[in-house]
Symmetry: C2
Subunit: 195 residues, 2 copies
């Protein structure tokens, strides 16, 4: 296999990139943007070298403790559990949460052999029982696997005397009821609140 | 800017990759596939180091002459002009062409400052006038810019006494007339052939 085919194969490992896109990317880099190929190679190596996980919350960090865990002004009574650094970033962009985080390594998926051990439930329980945390907000996905993960975590937290909450399910902001799926409307009805 | 942001920025230079995809790719590589990040970095460097252009047809090649130009069994009377190595690869996959190729560096686009010099018309004319080529098949795109490129090349080849042809325009194989755009049907009608 030649260098071009090797490059196409390596690009295919990126999520969402198939044979055609990988080929287009490789041709583009070699034909029009060799500086970009070089920049990407170096960025990959730098990131792999420097980016590790925060010792306390397990998000990506270039230091032992990430910026959020270092921030002493946050509310230590709140701990938000998310499935990935990307989910944490989304939460942060809302600018409406001021507690700390714990980033799981994904969500439970017994069929794929991903159990509580793989996603790091034990470190979460240790973190949550530091004596300061009063409420654990379970912000895993609203998919079957995310819900199962939240359920398992809620039980484990309850057994340790910790209160856990879940993000509200409901109609997305800006959407017309006509186009919202029925399951979501049903949930929004059950969880209705005083106006 | 930290290593993670650098990586996201470098990934955004890939064609068809926006902020969201770049972020997803970076998170995926760092969280689940560090070996993939490493493989991609090395493949990029290897490709940038070894892949250059064939001296004769200008396609990607790791040797001075590409495999096709080295193949003496091909029909030296035919020269097919394409816009990119990707287009050449598509032609090859049809397995219905047995002549040689000439790969342009894109197509004419005066508004973007891409003239006959940038796409390499002079080397093409030199290649086409080797005394063996009898027919130049212009396989540039059927877009305004591709058509303009084909027109300019046809004129230049004609001035040198060379015959040029263009790929047939018509209804794509497997399509129902009802769903084919009108311009294509009109061309297919003009270029109709005995059944």
């Amino acid at each position: 296999m030649n260098a071009l085919d090797h490059l196409i194969e390596a690009l295919r490992r990126l999520p969402g990139v198939g044979q055609k896109s990988a080929q287009r990317m490789a041709y583009h880099l070699l034909q029009h943007d060799r500086a970009g190929a070089d920049a990407l190679a170096r960025a990959l190596q730098e990131a792999a070298r420097h980016v590790r996980h925060c010792e306390r919350c397990h998000t990506f960090s270039e230091t032992a403790l990430c910026k959020i865990c270092q921030d002493t002004k946050r509310d230590a009574r709140l701990l938000c559990v998310v499935e990935s650094p990307a989910d944490q970033a989304a939460m942060e962009r809302t600018a409406s949460y001021h507690g700390y985080y714990f980033v799981l390594q994904g969500r439970l998926s017994p069929l794929d052999g991903i159990s509580t051990r793989e996603i790091g439930v034990a470190p979460l329980l240790e973190r949550a029982t530091d004596g300061q945390v009063e409420e654990v907000i379970l912000a895993t996905s609203f998919t079957a696997e995310g819900e199962a993960t939240a359920h398992v975590l809620a039980e484990a937290l309850k057994a340790r005397g910790l209160r856990s909450t879940r993000l509200a399910r409901g109609v997305p902001v800006g959407s017309e009821l006509e186009y919202v799926d029925l399951g979501t409307i049903a949930h929004a009805l059950v969880d209705r609140r005083p106006s």
